[in-house]
Symmetry: D2
Subunit: 312 residues, 4 copies
């Protein structure tokens, strides 16, 4: 037990992101305190070369403008493995194809439909963007080596093949392909990208091999000296990252989750990281923290502070 | 605009589940009001033979004791298509294998680990249960027709094959197999069942065909005159049910969701059903309701009231 | 540690409210489990004549149709002390004056304003209702004994004086007056009733004595052999009930809270009842439960089941 | 309708608080977008001399280290009127008396009680701190002019009298006294300060006049050309600020709220600010934003960015 005095935060006009999180650390309690602990854990895990860092991406984070942030984390070597929802992958590719997400649109949902506009809370994406996506992604499917397709292609291979064909440096799918970082998406068919793959498979011999990717991600979890997890928004990426340790018999050494989901209804999205210790998914002495916050506020702040701290 | 007086609920000692929801309907506002509207929608969709009902199951609902309720809904013909997380399928099969979930266990998460007990909020499942699961499910994998395995088996076929080999009438996987109801799980590899499938595939030629199941569920969505969705707890089952309509070009006629997730962080789990109208996933004139409640309280109450009302 | 098997709920068409909660008890986990524990605690505390029961009412529960339920609890002797927000008192009196709350009204908030309609989520109350309230409550203020006013009237006395002048049996303010149950509202001026009291005081010698009510509620907490708390929706009523024990040096023996607020942001509304043990507000061995649920669903279900169980 | 492209946030190691919120503004959606809009509204309202700014403080924000931030906002002239829970006032005075809040303490709630430690989520305050508080505040009560006490003292006067006797520049109660900013607390008896006032009144002629403060706050709301509200954490401070406009017939021109409470259960804490337009509490064309976030993260970030922006 280390008893510590809670200091009053001092907030002035000369504060960097790191200054701000340091004030939260001086206070050290409630959500601000958990964000400050997340900074320490983040910095420790990304600066230790022995730690492989798994990033889980759920919720509409790419439409919210976080895709470039993920791309940067990959390019700067902070992240070694990605598990993403199919939706975030789809929206990242849509942006890489030159389409974009919009805001500031009014009208009720029926009116939006009649205008061909799809709503994601207060972000919007047009039917036209999906048409561009269809045209370009079908072309990419045609371009991908047929030999591979015969035996079945894994989702992570598919992500690499797609990423190689993108030109937008802000795309995390491209960044991952460039850097050799694997993107896993066990529920690929649960997305518009998956629907496009299915459309392609109606006339072409595409098979997706999902078991092989399980082999691969477990291998990535197994070969590490130490492992860290950054889990944004829960969902299946959270489980998919954590469950690797049921096979390796190890457990993550570091873990951060940021979510607004709550634990009482028993779903994994809202479960505490401590709970994962009972499963052996986290080591009993893992450094972990649950940050109860919206990812779009907390994660940019965390990353800005971490980069500043790492710069030294 | 139909202006209606909010009546004071009258709660006495002679109330059936239906009486209770009728009082909530008399009030008609806040979460109680939304539950009452859910009852009307539920009853209308399950009693119309032209409506195919899709049930989405996310969150640890089987460990919480709802597995038998799902089995009953299937057996009674209320539900035509299931999309479930792999975890709920795994836990349903664990129970069908004679293992069970427990409560009333104390100890911190590290202590639980050393005792081989895995925690799901305040539910618990032992390592022994997972060992039984491994032994029995590997046997089932061996039993399943090899021919099918060569070309790849779909998850829904796998569910049928497993369900046929279970003996517990309370298992929803068995009930679905018995009644010819398809269970879809696009993220099968994101579960302990998926890990077992992978283990099996290391020495055996198991391939899982995920694209074919997309074909099948879209077909099920396409062939209906009308469609209804009951979405418990969000997660990928929610998206997987709703996205079928992006291909069919129709949209659900009825939809109920019960969740504690919130919409402001943009994730689909917490998104309103109205938002789905902008995508065409729901018809603009669909009857739909968002019930902000824990599934373990609201869904049993809803089903009890619905069965009583349907009895007439 | 009492290890218990989680039973699958059995939901059929013949279920009373009590049957339903018993199934939730058989499962016993997540929010359903907490509701089942709340039933046991509720029944134990209201059936023990040595227990004085304090009810805290926050959130717009009267507009939602729960006012009559509170009145019944008072009349049936289940509740001995009330702490309510001024809003719930105001809305209860509005209904007792023959005005009512409405639902089913559409239009955005600016349109509502231009029509003189005030919104409470999806409940509505007209400016006309507040005009009736003003006229009638000012008359009641004039009727109340002037002598008392000179030295200052406590809020609980004011509530009794108002309650005696109401005729609606469904009013909890009237029920409390009839049964000699005190209603406390430390933040009376934070309500439309309070604004009316202020208007009256501009031309009349009304003084409100808030310290005397503190004396009275502490006395009520002190004289009990045992104490129980039912806290709906957090807010200051929660604190006001619990803080009495800081003076008595005892602590509640029983406590139930139902809320959707969460604990991580540190506010008392979302704090666990366990936290109250650290303050001595609850006894260390108190029987208490946090039910994470909307009050409008969970409380009617709880009360219906409790009445049925008490009937025996 | 102003359709705007959502830009990808660019997060690097050289970011000030303002840079960060500007990136959130470039994205502009979800919670980050709402925080960015809050910045614009905050800066506009505090830099316009015609706007009187009301600050509502609920939740344990002083124990979390935000007391000094409030003090600074007062001293810098950003805030003109305060409505606070009694708890935040109590804890501010405790810190001004040289006692402090702590973190890093372990032990369950019963153990904490036996050690005389009171828990506020993961912040802690000792019984000793409350003993110091009792001793010092009773002395202050004795010091306050007896004449005033006879006719009754308002809470805002009491706050000024206490504030004048404090020496800690970081105390917001002292800052308010120094700057002539009124602190209102309609539920003063719902706090430990209130309990101390009651104790004092047992042997001394202290009377608290709550109606007079209503007069005063309405006057402050009435005399403004324009009004702004910053509402942290909901609770009665939110209502108390907003309800002033029911009397003035004006409505706030600006409003920001930061909360994790949700609207569906109908309580005012979680209600949208738009709802307040239907009551006339906000003008129909008010600039307002709901930020769904924990105050301890979002408010320091907002204030740091605002101060930087105001510096120019």
């Amino acid at each position: 037990m280390y008893k510590v005095k809670i200091k009053r935060m001092k907030i002035d006009e000369h504060m960097s992101a790191l200054d701000l999180v340091r004030e939260m650390d001086a206070s050290g309690v409630f959500c601000a305190g958990s964000l400050a602990r997340a900074l320490d854990i983040f910095v420790e895990m990304v600066s230790d070369p022995d730690v492989k860092v798994f990033l889980g991406i759920a919720g509409a984070l790419v439409p919210a403008g976080l895709g470039g942030l993920f791309a940067d984390l990959i390019r700067e070597g902070f992240v070694d493995v990605i598990v993403s929802t199919g939706a975030n992958i789809t929206h990242d590719i849509i942006e890489a194809f030159g389409e974009h997400h919009q805001r500031g649109i009014s009208g009720n949902d029926s009116e939006l439909r009649s205008q061909g506009i799809n709503r994601i809370y207060d972000a919007y994406v047009s039917d036209k963007a999906f048409m561009t996506f269809e045209e370009r992604i079908q072309q990419i499917f045609r371009d991908i080596d047929v030999e591979k397709r015969k035996g079945g292609i894994t989702v992570s291979e598919l992500m690499t093949e797609i990423g190689k064909r993108l030109e937008d440096e802000n795309s995390f799918v491209k960044a991952a392909a460039d850097k050799g970082v694997s993107i896993f998406c066990p529920a690929i068919t649960d997305s518009i990208l998956g629907l496009q793959a299915w459309l392609f498979s109606q006339l072409n011999p595409l098979k997706i091999d999902v078991l092989e990717d399980l082999h691969k991600i477990i291998g990535l979890a197994y070969e590490n000296k130490k492992s860290g997890a950054i889990i944004l928004g829960g969902g299946f990426p959270k489980n998919h990252i954590l469950q690797t340790m049921l096979i390796t018999g190890r457990g993550f050494d570091y873990a951060i989750q940021i979510t607004l989901d709550r634990p009482e209804s028993g779903g994994l999205s809202g479960a505490t990281l401590s709970e994962a210790c009972s499963w052996g998914k986290l080591k009993s002495d893992a450094k972990s923290v649950d940050v109860i916050a919206d990812v779009t506020i907390a994660f940019p702040l965390l990353v800005a502070a971490a980069k500043e701290k790492l710069k030294g």
